[in-house]
Symmetry: C3
Subunit: 377 residues, 3 copies
């Protein structure tokens, strides 16, 4: 089993494995480092550098396995870098990303209790170590439902060769930082169907067709999440609002792979009741609402160079259009996979436009580029 | 040796052990996760939910062992969750819980230098992984002396079949967060006697009679700690006061186990010189003083279900009675030990009263419940 | 290879090593703990204690090794204590100290990408686990260039028996805390020559002659670093200034070892354009500039006791002499190496003077002492 961040990797362990002599303790240790050098231009027709994005983007340690019986599995993941800790939004160094225990009733039905990713949009559930661009899309950034503490249930089965997954969660709705929460919880459901059968090595949650599927493979998914009385601008993530709001997020996505080609599609829409919140001085803080589409297509050459293209479109809802503009990004990526997704070199270039105007002199347009090295086990 | 947080577990190692080829490095790795879902009612007769307590309560990594010679042993423990870091009181993410080196003159006499638990009240010195309720008592919460940096000495010996322990410490008195300190240090001493001999597998520092002692076992202990010129409301813990105070804490406790039954008792009393501190605007911050008793009784069934009852009483001192009320809690706990204290499911329900009035409509009374899963090695 | 913090220790691994069955993953795990008890007097002729320095000074975990091919090596180092995280200057718990990947073109030429130490003054590049006093000198504290994110290149070669090293770096200039940076980067270069050949086990980056060199060994080095538009008082470290400044730092150093004797010398000079920065209220924050010299001499006895002396002199630049005074420190150290630098007991005593006046009654003069235990693998 490959990495997807909802689950521990119980089969086909990667990394370093430790087992106690009596086999009651099984632990798999991994780490992942992403070092990045990026730059953004001043605007579309002034190619001077406005800002560098140069840092250890991610440095994570992950331990998963089972204890005393394969029925009790667990995943722990720690994040050590500032931007991986929601620090700038919350003021708290949230080191813990995953801390969850699974009870496996059967190989096809298990329940989780703890902190891990919600079954939201596909690109978010994808591990950041399985991406083909250095970052996820702006659509994901604006509307994903991230991680949350609570109870989750997972079920999968077959109909002939087709595979389907059902996932549901009841969680606090306030994300990683919360110690306690009000009565307003979050409710999430998601279904997936793989009409052409399972992907090789869980490739439905890994970008790019690194397995070079010999027959076409397709996964289609969709779901929704309702988050009641959340105090944060993105529900589980984002800055604190002046008043609680109710969010509803809808997502539909698909991934197709065949013979080195991969195509993925993602649509997310979010509605918010009373998205604008005010304090006593009349200052405003808003919860993002709107909709967006992300599409990516890629081909992996025999030498393990991949070329990928991406087009993302994000439209803010009417109530917040005085704060946010419609944004599009066109991006080109070249990735050299030295050891699948574990060691890779990524070079991305993109052009971002505002208000649907692609002209270089349009206000807010800009060029960007990033070089990223990923190293992990 | 079982876990008690003053010591490394040099014998009967649990967890994953690593040894260098030349046997000069010996390291034992463990982790522990506690995931919790709790709720409190609005008050005693309105059973609506006021607040959920839903989170990764603890996530810790622990490394202990010896280096180059069993005479040099060490314990390191790291805490990754917000509520385990004293963050909300200090603004600092105090990741380090234990970082201490021991020099073992003899197996019965050793000296510690570094950060670890003070030899205070028994329930506090108990590891949080050895508790039979999800939380320690309110008496412990209000007056325990926690961890501190300094020098500690431990001595144990026998008188016939009886065993006794003597422990002493000189420490900074400001707890885990301190980088440096004023002249006012903390001085702690504690003695214990086990008239019926040692508990099976160090059970005097583990709650519940999981070993089902075949003969009665008893430990009685007591001690005191003087903390001079501390700047924090609880000495080593708590928020910062406006002025330093001197604290004295007295503790007496006992634990008895036999044939699946366990009973424990704990009395703590704290006095503070000038407990109320003021800033220039006349705002007040106070150091807790008062006294309290905690008692727990439990029986472990053959199927490793345990039923436990607890009664705690906490009375604030006269000088702070305008800020804090007398509080009592009656609590019932059912615990399923799947692998002793390492994997357990805990379900607790409690009723909290104020001012000694048990009537449901008394102001401040409330019901609470918590379900907790503990998973560790 | 011994530890120097620019590099992973690929040869002569210490610590615990893990290797995957197929030898594609090689990982070396180490940790290091420094516990300290220090005290400073009120002044030169009042030996009352003004302040204790009692804490876990450092607690670090380090993982290094290579992945899939010895050409891809890496170093990760995490710091868990408050004072090791730049917390008090930045408000951020900077846990990551090193996170860097190396591409080894040849054994003599390699390039690093990520966060690690800059090739600055020798005492700083020295690991804190290879020092003979509990702290580095005041000269280093005031003007070292610490760690920074970016690209670094390292080359070494021989001329006959002489060895030389060339090192260069382009980095963000804002240190560990930075997520992104302006156009002003930092440029660093350094050269070293070892005319008498390589030290035993990389002893040129380890203090004290623990290897008891059988023939005299000498390393001389020098370099400079220009840091443009940095926002911090020390470039990569220090508090935030009110306006960006340009720093230039020059360093020259040498170390000599022979038969248990070691002598080291370090000169650092820093110039700053417009060192004083102001906010709108006219408050001032300044970037340190000035110069200083540190010298240390030591002898290691046969029983692995070392006696060491140190003299440090630090002179602030003219523009900041209303804020900082000329400072000298004379220090004596006795160290017992129980297992080389891995387990050692250190006892240091020092006398600090201000304005070049050694009289006990001079304002600002004081005595200090520290006892430190280091334990690591």
């Amino acid at each position: 089993q490959r990495e997807r961040d909802e689950f521990p990797t119980l089969k086909d362990f990667r990394g370093l494995q430790f087992k106690s002599k009596d086999s009651t303790i099984y632990m798999n240790f991994r780490f992942r480092m992403q070092n990045r050098l990026g730059a953004y231009t001043v605007d579309g027709d002034n190619l001077g550098i406005r800002e560098f994005d140069a840092r250890v983007r991610r440095l994570r340690m992950r331990v998963d396995g089972y204890l005393y019986s394969p029925k009790f599995s667990y995943t722990i993941q720690l994040a050590y870098t500032r931007s991986d800790q929601d620090f700038d939004d919350t003021g708290v160094a949230n080191i813990v990303r995953d801390a969850v225990v699974f009870y496996n009733f059967t190989p096809n039905f298990y329940v989780a209790f703890g902190l891990n990713k919600l079954p939201g949009n596909r690109q978010r559930v994808n591990s950041s170590g399985q991406l083909q661009f250095a970052d996820r899309s702006i659509v994901n950034a604006a509307m994903n439902i991230d991680r949350d503490f609570g109870i989750k249930a997972y079920y999968k089965n077959n109909i002939g060769t087709a595979v389907y997954h059902l996932k549901a969660a009841i969680t606090t709705g306030e994300g990683r930082v919360a110690n306690n929460t009000d009565k307003g919880l979050a409710y999430t459901g998601r279904a997936e169907i793989l009409p052409l059968g399972a992907f090789t090595k869980d490739g439905d949650y890994s970008e790019g067709d690194l397995m070079r599927e010999e027959t076409p493979k397709l996964s289609m998914g969709g779901g929704l999440s309702k988050n009641f009385e959340t105090t944060r601008s993105g529900g589980q993530i984002g800055y604190y609002l002046y008043a609680p709001v109710d969010l509803t997020t809808y997502f539909a996505d698909a991934i197709f792979k065949y013979s080195g080609w991969a195509y993925q599609f993602e649509y997310i829409k979010r509605t918010v009741d009373n998205a604008l919140t005010y304090n006593d001085e009349g200052d405003v803080k808003y919860a993002f609402n709107g909709q967006g589409i992300n599409q990516q297509v890629s081909y992996l050459f025999k030498n393990n160079y991949e070329i990928a293209g991406r087009y993302s479109w994000l439209e803010p809802g009417e109530s917040i259009q005085s704060f946010q503009q419609e944004t599009e990004i066109v991006e080109l990526g070249v990735t050299k996979y030295l050891h699948e997704h574990r060691i890779k070199l990524q070079l991305n270039a993109n052009y971002q436009t505002k208000q649907g105007v692609f002209a270089l002199d349009n206000k807010g347009n800009r060029w960007g580029g990033v070089f990223q090295v990923e190293l992990g086990i």
